[in-house]
């Protein structure tokens, strides 16, 4: 089943055309890594695929909604506890009980921090709060912008497991990363260098 | 009906519009200047003076047309904004952006002439008269649109944001005008108004109508000229433009 298909997508920023002729079809069970140098337009492409960017984006994009999009800004309120943050997350399309949320926080090694304000946690821990959403969402298509940054080795391994699990249950993931491929047999690469407009 | 739709469709195409507006402006310019001259001559020198205000009322022939067209200009902007939001036609963005400064200048003209008219009428340059106050608020609305457009770096987003703002403003303008009227009558009942309800004599009315028509044409022409300048810049690298400029 195709969860996202894009054809002849071009992206402009300001008066400059960044990308041209990007096309991809993401089926369930697939992991796509978007590659490219800094500034080539990886984040812009991901935003366009998510439907957040429309101005300067041409071409046809169809996606299976709801989708999950996770970017550098984690949509986490520092004043709230991890529990509250996940309970009232603005994009959460499903209801999660406090017990389910506690379980998810346990999985990202934040057990015991449920009721502390997120602002008092470290950057890596805050990142984990955002990633705990992966365990609570009902979305089948995940768009992750640099998900491995600010994570330690164990965190990266956990995220890899999580993505593998999601894909094996019929989901699909598109992510950007500078790290070498982690999902060798599952993974498809989209190298934006091929679509960059010089 | 079908012809009209075809015409509207063509308006959205920059090459066609560029040529069409060029011809249109060439005709509009002399007609507008002629109407303005006739209206001004008639209003200034031919029409009889007002029996209460004397000759100072002759300012009506620029104050009222400027005020009327400035208000209409905001609606023109709002219609362009709605078209831009609903059908995403780029030409509507250009039209909206082109109308804003023209409307702002006309509003300023109405304000300044109102102030000048106020001096002999009330003995003060500025009086918080209902019409003048409304015009001042309209000026703020216009300046807000221009400032919002300039503040955005992404000009497509700027146009859409301005479209939303003008639509909000359009819903509010009747409420603002009405509330200012009520506010005025609440605080200063029965003072001398610029334009009373009493029927205006034909000898005074005709030049006023001529001037209102002239100001509408002026608005249209200035807006078209702004649009042409903007289109020229936006399509400065386009093939059709280079061809057209080579020919002419």
């Amino acid at each position: 089943m195709v969860l996202l298909s894009a054809a002849e997508v071009s992206i402009e920023r300001g008066e400059r055309r960044l990308l041209q002729g990007v096309g991809l079809a993401v089926a369930s069970g697939q992991v796509w890594q978007v590659l490219g140098a800094n500034g080539v337009g990886k984040s812009s492409l991901l935003r366009a695929l998510a439907g957040l960017a429309r101005f300067g984006v041409e071409g046809s994009i169809s996606r299976f909604e709801p989708l999950l999009y996770l970017a550098h800004a984690p949509a986490i309120k520092c004043a709230l506890s991890p529990l509250e943050n996940l309970r009232c997350h603005p994009a959460c399309d499903v209801t999660s009980t406090p017990a389910q949320i506690a379980l998810a926080l346990e999985a990202v090694q934040l057990g015991g921090y449920e009721h502390q304000p997120v602002g008092s946690l470290s950057a890596g821990q805050q990142r984990r709060v955002a990633l705990a959403r992966l365990l609570l969402t009902g979305a089948r298509l995940w768009l992750l912008d640099e998900p491995f940054t600010a994570l330690d080795g164990a965190g990266c391994d956990w995220l890899e497991e999580c993505i593998r699990g999601h894909v094996s249950t019929g989901g699909a993931v598109i992510f950007t990363s500078h790290q070498p491929s982690r999902f060798s047999e599952l993974q498809q690469d989209l190298d934006l260098a091929n679509y960059a407009v010089s | 009906m079908r012809g009209m739709w075809a015409f509207i469709h063509k308006l959205g195409s920059p090459p066609w519009f560029f040529g069409f507006s060029g011809t249109l402006v060439r005709w509009l310019l002399p007609v507008t200047v002629l109407l303005l001259a006739v209206g001004a001559y008639w209003g200034l020198l031919v029409a009889p003076p007002d029996f209460r205000q004397g000759n100072s009322y002759r300012i009506i022939y620029i104050h009222v047309p400027a005020a009327v067209v400035a208000l209409a200009g905001y609606y023109v902007m709002a219609i362009a904004g709605a078209i831009s939001l609903i059908w995403r036609i780029k030409m509507a963005d250009v039209a909206m952006r082109a109308a804003a400064p023209v409307g702002a200048v006309l509003t300023a003209v109405a304000l300044v002439t109102g102030a000048i008219w106020g001096k002999p009428t009330w003995g003060a340059w500025w009086v918080w008269d209902a019409r003048i106050t409304s015009m001042l608020i309209l000026l703020f609305l216009y300046l807000g649109v221009v400032a919002l457009f300039e503040a955005y770096e992404n000009k497509t987003a700027a146009a859409k944001a301005c479209a939303v703002l003008t639509l909000v403003g359009t819903v509010n303008i009747p409420i603002i005008y009405k509330s200012v009227d009520w506010w005025y009558s609440l605080h200063q009942p029965a003072s001398l108004k610029f334009t009373g309800e009493s029927a205006i004599d034909a000898s005074m009315l005709y030049p006023l109508l001529v001037m209102i028509g002239a100001f509408y044409l002026l608005f249209a022409m200035s807006m078209l000229l702004n649009m042409r300048a903007e289109l020229l810049w936006q399509h400065r690298n386009a093939h059709w433009l280079r061809q057209r400029l080579d020919v002419s």
Binding site: - | L36, N55, V109, V112, I116, A229, L232, R236, L241
Partner: protein, 61 residues
């Protein structure tokens, strides 16, 4: 014409200063409304023709 002489039209029973000032300011505004976009158009036109010449020069080289 309503006025008997040009001087009377200029004076307008003491209101002349106001009326003529209002008309003069409006005339200035009208001229600006036409002249500013025209000037911008010509400026862009110069840019385009300069660019065109440069491109033509490039292709000749």
């Amino acid at each position: 014409m309503y006025f008997e002489s040009l001087a009377a039209a200029w004076h307008m029973d003491g209101h002349g200063g106001y009326v003529w000032m209002a008309y003069a300011l409006t005339t200035m505004a009208v001229v600006l409304m036409v002249w500013l976009p025209l000037a911008r158009f010509r400026r862009h036109l110069r840019w385009v023709s300069a660019h065109q010449l440069r491109q033509a020069g490039d292709s000749q080289l």
